[in-house]
């Protein structure tokens, strides 16, 4: 693992500014003053912690600066860059279907040109190197529960069945406990009334009579 980490570290382009470059090449430094923000997006595969999908495989990843001021895309190796960014505090967001990325606060220092600090706004974690990884994958669909007896039992139909079973098998048990004389009285009453009422069937109600 350590070796792979080192491998990645050697790959990472650390944040740096090309301000000197832009000063050197523009005729009027005032107007094209700005810094370049370089970064990289890495999307881990579900399985291994150290394996990463090349973001190129994930379709249409967009990186947005300051809520839509500028939009850029990823290179096959996951790098992106914003050029001519003025000094100040900026916000970078990554939009990729299927993943939730935290926005990143980026401080481009005016005093010591080239110093750029980045921190995830969701977790307030500072980034030592500008590598953005998703906070989590996003599942847009509800997963169908696999077939289970409980799901049948919990469904309205299952509840109906259950209630029926209770009535069929438990009620006679309850009836058994009733005093035979009371039972007889209840039956007589039932005959008198013609229509059996639920209240009269219940032991408590029958006893109160």
């Amino acid at each position: 693992m350590a070796s792979t980490m080192r491998f990645f570290k050697s790959l990472f382009l650390f944040l740096f500014s090309i301000s000197s470059f832009s000063f050197a090449h523009s005729a009027s430094p005032g107007s094209s003053e700005g810094y370049t923000i370089y970064g990289r997006v890495k999307i881990p595969t579900g399985s291994g912690a150290n394996e990463f999908i090349l973001p190129g495989k994930v379709s249409n990843v967009k990186v947005t600066l300051n809520g839509g001021q500028r939009v850029t895309f990823l290179r096959p190796d996951g790098y992106f860059s914003f050029h001519n960014v003025p000094a100040g505090t900026h916000l970078i967001e990554v939009a990729a279907l299927g993943y939730l990325f935290s926005p990143v606060r980026v401080d481009v220092s005016a005093r010591n040109p080239g110093k750029i600090q980045a921190a995830l706004t969701e977790t307030r974690r500072g980034l030592s190197e500008f590598v953005l990884e998703p906070l989590k994958g996003e599942q847009y669909y509800e997963i169908r529960e696999p077939f289970s007896i409980m799901s049948i039992v919990k469904s309205p139909m299952g509840l109906m069945m259950g209630f029926m079973l209770i009535v069929v098998f438990l009620m006679p048990k309850l009836m058994e406990n009733i005093d035979p004389e009371e039972m007889k009285r209840a039956q007589e009453e039932m005959r008198n009334q013609g229509v059996p009422s639920l209240a009269s069937l219940l032991p408590g109600a029958a006893r109160s009579n």
């Binding site: 096959p76 967001e93 926005p103 669909y141």
Partner: protein
């Protein structure tokens, strides 16, 4: 008691379920998604190799896409940022698509097969200028193909392999407006004007960009329009009187020029001439009036008219079809047909192709044509033509037939309204014959298998197909639940489409005559679309109609154009092009006897015009004269004014009224700037004013149609995120009564800035802004309650009639209001906010958030409840109050767009269905997306996945059980009797 507990717990269970998610196999049942690209600006064909034939396009919606040439489907597509306008598109190395965007400052290469970005190059420069992308076929530097880019006043040579800038030459110091780059094997000529008459040519070394030579000539007259290169050393331009053609010759490094009167070429040259930008070798196309002259430049430098095309629509660039043959196409209209001619540049007499096709006249004229050739089996050349029409649609024509067409006008929707479908008439059954019972049962058994997860993959496929096949949802009549409607959308091209909510197909479309370019109306723009006539009750035999309001140009002072369209047939019933202007359209809450809604159109000169222009409408307005109020927002001056009607303005006619200002609120310009105003939807239905709190106390919502939410920011923090510091930024929000101008609520968020997106519904407003201190976005909610009705709690008051519930609600009564508010962090940037709307307003609400990732998130209003506390009591929990968290959760299952993106999302429209639980949602941008959502689940109807088979099974089982137990009890009785 147990049953009660059980029921309550069931209810509670159903309430705690805050998300209404979708199963993957339900995709496409209630929703549809359409992908568009917008009006094509550039098109490059890629058909050389065997395999997929494609055309690469860039559009006015900043889309770069690769389309299948056989069917017009999208292979891949990228929507660039809103400021990232594409200036050029070409193919390099046969495998990369190169785009130049953002005024020539960003150069990107996309992999041709899959659209993956390969490299991106930022080109430095400091002066705004025309941007030119030029990919020479034969210009190489160290085995690397060069890309020449002129942008921001610099010429760059970029390697096409990795986008590295090999050399650059700065023209910033020379104030030259470069308009042409001409290259030969090792020399690059950069030509352009300084001012309008000084013509400069710079000669650069192609290897390293060194300046070899610089020559210039001063023309004795100014020039008009763009330079056009006719051949490698001849350029043409019009002079400033537009009556002369100036030919500039660069032969052997010497600049010479000639001029020729257009009148010498054509006798009737009364109109203004324009050189068309089509690139033809040795020729150019000159448009005079409605004719196009094809002018050839002979070897002697003479200009000769080779053809005159009447009613010409478009001329393509030249296409080299073999070593020595170059062809180009032009189209012209005639007898309701479109005639396409492809001619050889050198041999004018013969036609390579001449075809006439009929194209739906609702597509309008042809804007652009791109041609491509293929070799037929008999080795002759065939041609296909890709045409961009006036309504922004894209049509591919081959062998005299339309192979495919795309309605790409729908990528630029500007206004949406809805209309009901016709009522199903008796005897006219549109539904197909009901399938027999066995089929029906079989279907439900399949569904049961699906819900029990015991279905095989074949079964799953069968279920999916069965669900999608159900023709119910795409019928052309009104349904009981109100799910089937027409979405009537107005596009930027001035075309109106009616889309069926069931499957998103186009029912009818009309290119509005009033919104087409004409001599009186140079640059018409469609503003919005309104419901004009919604017949129900006594006017049912009338068809509903919509009103489209437009303007003859982008400025406010341009005259208005109005169109009335029948919503069933798509025919323009009436149209008015009036002298008055339009700054505001106010649909009034009154309708006349034919259910036409009264509208006031306010012009820039403080007049209000009444529509429809009938005496009846005038009577209604006169009756309600003192009840008509509206407001206007002048965000530049920081003023909001309230208006009412004053009197008839005698000067014009009886349908014109003067208006008076009732009140005005002037915000201090040094500390506040208006950036957003949001009012309630006028047709929103509120079920109840009372709200029962957890302690069985009643509070009354302050529900007024006349509330306006205003968001102001500090002038310094007016820009985008990243331009201001927390100390100099603040956001002030107001809730204003628009009748009296009374400020009901004012709140300041320090250290916050825009952009502000807000939605106003019932008595609450939810708004989204950026908190600079935390550097996160926030969503806030403000709820307004009516305090004056708060003491209507005593039963005795009701008995004695001392309550004031029946007192009329008026803005003038100045009730005491209280507000409650709360703020939460929200992760994403937001493009738009909307709220669900239902027929009776009983169903709880969801806030629909269009995020920066072009998805739509449904957030339950209960997350945005000021009553949320850190530790809610048991009673509060039962009431559904969620414990307070500092940020709002993003539950991925509650994305109503599920795994789709509405690229370039601009707006969301919600429409109530007739079924109370359901709201119809239409999201538009470059893509269109429609779905139905039920914020509190479909409590009033069985869900789609309700298993009838299981119900039947239960019933059968119950009946069987009854019989069995009956037989058993009979037997038992018999035994008892025998005993």
């Amino acid at each position: 008691m147990a049953i009660r507990v059980f029921l309550i717990s069931l209810l509670f269970l159903s309430f705690t379920n805050l998300i209404s998610a979708l199963y993957e196999d339900q995709v496409g049942l209630m929703d549809w998604h359409q992908q568009y690209i917008g009006k094509v600006k550039h098109a490059v064909f890629h058909t050389q190799k065997t395999g997929r034939k494609r055309v690469l396009v860039s559009t006015e919606e900043n889309v770069v896409a690769s389309l299948d040439l056989r069917r017009g489907e999208i292979f891949w597509r990228h929507v660039l940022g809103t400021n990232d306008v594409v200036d050029g598109l070409d193919i390099a190395l046969g495998k990369y698509v190169i785009t130049l965007s953002s005024d020539g400052s960003i150069l990107r290469a996309w992999n041709l097969p899959d659209g993956q970005m390969v490299w991106e190059s930022s080109l430095q420069g400091s002066k705004a200028s025309k941007s030119i992308l030029n990919i020479p076929k034969n210009l190489k530097a160290d085995k690397d193909d060069l890309i020449l880019v002129f942008g921001k006043g610099c010429l760059h040579a970029v390697s096409s392999i990795d986008g590295e800038v090999l050399w650059r030459h700065d023209f910033v110091g020379e104030s030259i407006q470069v308009s042409h780059i001409i290259h030969s094997a090792d020399v690059i000529l950069v030509a352009g004007f300084v001012g309008s008459s000084e013509f400069y040519v710079y000669e650069l070394n192609a290897k390293n960009g060194e300046l070899l030579k610089n020559s210039h000539v001063a023309l004795p007259y100014g020039t008009f329009g763009e330079l056009l290169s006719v051949s490698s050393d001849v350029l043409v331009v019009l002079d400033d009187t537009r009556s002369n053609i100036v030919t500039i010759n660069l032969k052997n490094g010497e600049i010479s020029y000639n001029q020729k009167y257009i009148i010498d070429l054509i006798k009737d040259s009364s109109g203004q001439a324009v050189i068309l930008p089509s690139r033809l070798p040795g020729m150019f196309a000159l448009k005079v009036n409605s004719h196009v002259l094809i002018v050839k430049l002979t070897n002697e430098g003479e200009l000769v008219v080779v053809d005159k095309i009447n009613n010409a629509a478009a001329v393509s660039d030249a296409l080299s079809i073999s070593e020595d043959q170059q062809a180009f196409a032009f189209v012209h209209h005639g007898d309701n047909k479109i005639h396409i001619s492809v001619k050889d540049v050198n041999d004018w007499n013969g036609d390579l192709l001449k075809e006439s096709i009929v194209i739906d006249h609702q597509r309008g004229n042809i804007d652009k044509i791109f041609i491509n050739n293929y070799v037929r089996t008999d080795r002759s050349h065939g041609f296909r033509a890709l045409m961009v029409m006036e309504d922004h649609s894209l049509v591919l024509v081959q062998q005299g037939e339309i192979v495919w067409s795309r309605e790409d006008g729908l990528a630029s929707v500007v206004g949406v309204t809805t209309s009901e479908l016709p009522v199903e008439k008796e005897g006219v059954s549109v539904a197909k014959v009901e399938q027999n019972l066995f089929e029906w049962l079989k279907g439900h058994v399949l569904k049961l298998k699906g819900t029990l997860m015991i279905a095989s993959p074949d079964d799953v496929a069968a279920i999916q197909a069965m669900r999608l096949r159900s023709s119910e949802k795409s019928k052309m009549t009104r349904d009981h639940n109100g799910f089937r409607k027409m979405l009537i959308v107005l596009t930027r091209a001035g075309k109106v489409f009616a889309l069926h909510t069931g499957d998103g197909r186009v029912i009818w479309s009309i290119l509005l005559r009033t919104l087409r370019k004409s001599e009186v109306c140079e640059h018409p723009v469609g503003l919005n679309i309104y419901q004009w006539q919604v017949p129900h009750h006594h006017a049912l035999d009338e068809n509903p109609s919509v009103l489209v309001v437009g303007r003859c140009g982008p400025s406010l002072a341009a005259p208005a154009v109005l169109s009335f369209i029948d919503a069933y047939t798509g025919v323009e019933v009436n149209s008015l092009s009036h002298a008055h202007t339009v700054s505001q359209v106010i649909p009034l809450p009154y309708t006349d006897s034919t259910e036409q809604r009264l509208h006031l159109i306010i012009d820039v000169n403080q007049h209000a015009y009444l529509y429809p222009r009938t005496p009846e409408a005038l009577d209604i307005l006169k009756r309600e004269f003192s009840n008509v109020y509206w407001y206007s927002v002048e965000s530049d001056n920081g003023v909001i004014r309230g208006h009412a009607l004053k009197s008839n303005c005698k000067a014009v006619d009886e349908y014109c009224f003067d208006m008076r200002d009732l009140w005005s609120i002037v915000f201090p310009s040094e500390s506040e700037k208006i950036i957003a105003t949001v009012a309630r939807k006028s047709n929103e239905v509120v079920h109840t004013q009372a709200k029962v709190m957890t302690d069985y106390d009643v509070t009354y919502k302050y529900i007024s149609k006349n509330l306006l939410f205003v968001a102001n920011v500090a002038p310094k923090a007016n820009g985008e995120v990243g331009t201001a510091t927390p100390e100099e930024a603040w956001l002030v929000i107001y809730i204003i009564d628009t009748v009296t101008g009374r400020i009901l609520h004012r709140m300041t968020h320090h250290g916050c800035q825009g952009p502000v997106h807000a939605v106003f519904s019932e008595n609450w407003v939810v708004y989204h802004y950026f908190n600079l201190r935390a550097h996160r976005y926030e969503l806030s909610v403000v709820e307004v309650y009516d305090q004056s009705r708060a003491d209507n709690k005593d039963v005795w008051k009701f008995v004695l009639g001392m309550h004031n519930l029946t007192s009329p609600f008026s803005s003038y009564s100045r009730p005491e209001v209280t507000t409650k508010s709360q703020s939460y962090f929200f992760t994403h940037s937001v493009k738009t906010l909307e709220v669900t709307s239902t027929a009776k307003g009983i169903t709880s609400k969801q806030v629909l958030i269009g995020t920066i990732g072009d998805q739509v998130l449904a957030l339950d209003k209960r997350f945005l409840d000021p009553r949320r506390t850190l530790n809610p009591s048991q009673a509060e929990k039962e009431d559904g109050i969620i414990p307070l968290t500092d940020s709002l959760p993003i539950i991925s299952q509650s994305y109503i767009t599920h795994s789709l993106k509405v690229e370039g999302l601009r707006g969301i429209v919600t429409v109530p269905a007739k079924l109370e639980s359901t709201s119809l949602v239409f999201a538009y941008g470059v893509d269109l997306f429609f779905t139905q959502i039920a914020p509190s689940r479909t409590y009033d109807s069985l869900t789609e996945d309700f298993s009838y088979a299981l119900l039947l099974l239960t019933i059968v089982a119950l009946i069987a059980a009854i019989f069995v137990t009956w037989v058993l009890s009979e037997r038992k009785d018999l035994q008892e009797k025998w005993r």
